[in-house]
């Protein structure tokens, strides 16, 4: 079966500081994979390299078989890649609804109203706030706009950098379950998460990233049950 997102031997970094030292990772269609690991070990850089914000020095990236490692950022979006970045990166002076519209920038205009309805059903709070400027929202609401904007693209591979950041536990659960519900045979999720216990029953596979490599991968239950992994890499979460 063809991988939704296939990364092999990816090397990348900033200026003279390499951050990724040969990352390989495959995600299957219809699944959710999660990246965990200590801060500053390349999780965010990996996502940025896949979306093209950070250039890859070597290695390959494929989306459903299509090679994208040398493509421009917008070409990767056209190929079906969605990246919800760390810190939301909302368009602060635009309204919530305009932000969501930007998420569907490359989509056929006729599909936008339905996508918008779906996002508002997913985050009813955003429907209440639709006319408000994004900069006036609370941290949790901003996160919802960030994820909602990503969903608007209707992409095939959706990468979310810390979907749970700044959200209340109940909403985190709701978001993960909601994303699970959106799972389809032609779509895959890759999320970055600090706390592996949130991923039990949600993520199909957990990849532990350390020092710019995938050190270990397995199921959420395996991670939560492994004292070694928790203590060595995650400071005993």
């Amino acid at each position: 079966m063809m991988a939704a997102l296939s990364i092999s031997d990816l090397v990348a970094g900033y200026h003279n500081r390499p951050v990724l030292h040969g990352v390989s990772l495959d995600t299957e269609p219809g699944t959710m994979a999660a990246l965990i690991g200590p801060n500053g070990h390349g999780k965010t850089t990996l996502l940025k390299t896949v979306s093209g914000l950070v250039p890859a020095r070597s290695g390959a990236i494929r989306i459903f078989g299509q090679a994208i490692e040398t493509a421009e950022v917008h070409e990767r979006v056209e190929a079906g890649l969605v990246h919800v970045p760390q810190g939301d990166q909302l368009f602060g002076e635009m309204s919530v609804e305009e932000n969501l519209h930007m998420g569907a920038y490359l989509r056929d205009g006729a599909e936008v109203p339905r996508a918008l309805e779906e996002v508002y059903a997913f985050f009813p709070r955003l429907a209440e706030r639709r006319g408000q400027s994004a900069s006036s929202l609370s941290g949790g609401e901003r996160r919802m706009v960030g994820i909602g904007r990503g969903l608007m693209a209707g992409g095939k591979v959706m990468m979310i950098d810390e979907p749970s950041l700044g959200l209340a536990p109940l909403i985190i659960e709701q978001i993960y379950e909601g994303l699970r519900g959106l799972s389809r045979a032609d779509r895959a999720f890759l999320v970055v998460e600090e706390n592996p216990s949130r991923l039990i029953g949600i993520a199909d596979r957990i990849c532990l990233m350390d020092a710019g490599r995938i050190e270990w991968s397995g199921t959420a239950a395996e991670v939560a049950g492994s004292r070694d992994i928790l203590e060595t890499y995650l400071g005993g979460h």
Binding site: S51, G52, L53, E72, V73, H74, V77, E78, V82, H83, P85, Q89, L90, F91, G92, E93, M94, E98, H101, M102, G103, Y105, L106, S135, R149, A153
Partner: protein, 292 residues
Amino acid sequence: MDIVIQILVTGMTLGAMYALAAVGLSLIFGTLGMFNMAHGLFMTIGAYAAYAAAEQFGLPLVVAVLAAMAAGAAMGVATHLVMVRFMLRSKAFETNVIVATAGLAILLQDFVLKLFGGYPYPQPVRIEGVVRLFDVAVARQSLLIIAVAMVLIGAVAWLLLKTRFGMAIRATAINREAAQLMGVRTNSVYLQVMALAGALAGVAGVMISSLSTLSPSMGGDPLLKAFVICVVAGLGNAWGAGVSAFALGLLEAAIQYYVGVRFGFPVMLVLVIAILIWRPQGLFGTEKVVRL
């Protein structure tokens, strides 16, 4: 009453010309983060293009104005393609690009001088005559300038707020990386903004020269005023720049009438300094603190 109307018309005419220059300058600053020192020359070249079209080729005035817009847009596109795009990723882009565009301005001004000479030709693109407004004789050309500027600025506002193209420009201006992640071709957006701002500058040039004369150095003074307006409005805020342009135009006209013509600009500058001490981010500026 007569005096008020006179000041209103003069001020709005000045404001209209400043607004066309300032909105473009502000759009470029907001989107690319660069202060375009060649903007004055975009105006000059627009003015000469209209002159050449009307005087040398005998084309209708409307076509001459379109020629000015085309020339201004072409200058914007060329500036981006041959210069700015290679500098965008460089360190200290903000300062380097000021020096580079200032150099380009000198080059272009000499080019205009070489091509047309220094003789202060009158701008043929103008309409003669006056209309009576409450017993005050108002030049038709002034009313035309105000009307054209209003229409163009309204069109730009519509473009920015209501179209997909405008959304892409605003998104790129607010957060370039996020815009890229939405699938926006930010390099094309830069090019389009340069073309749009250049076209507005071209029209501004025609208007300015129609009230005085053509000269290769005619863009210097309006560039300075447009820059001052952008700073007062808050750098990069195109809407604020348009409003501030009309406000400062009216203010300048009032000062010229009540205090004296030669005090117009100096008093305006003192006010600008006062405004910036009170609100360093400018009247309409919000979050960004810009260092100069």
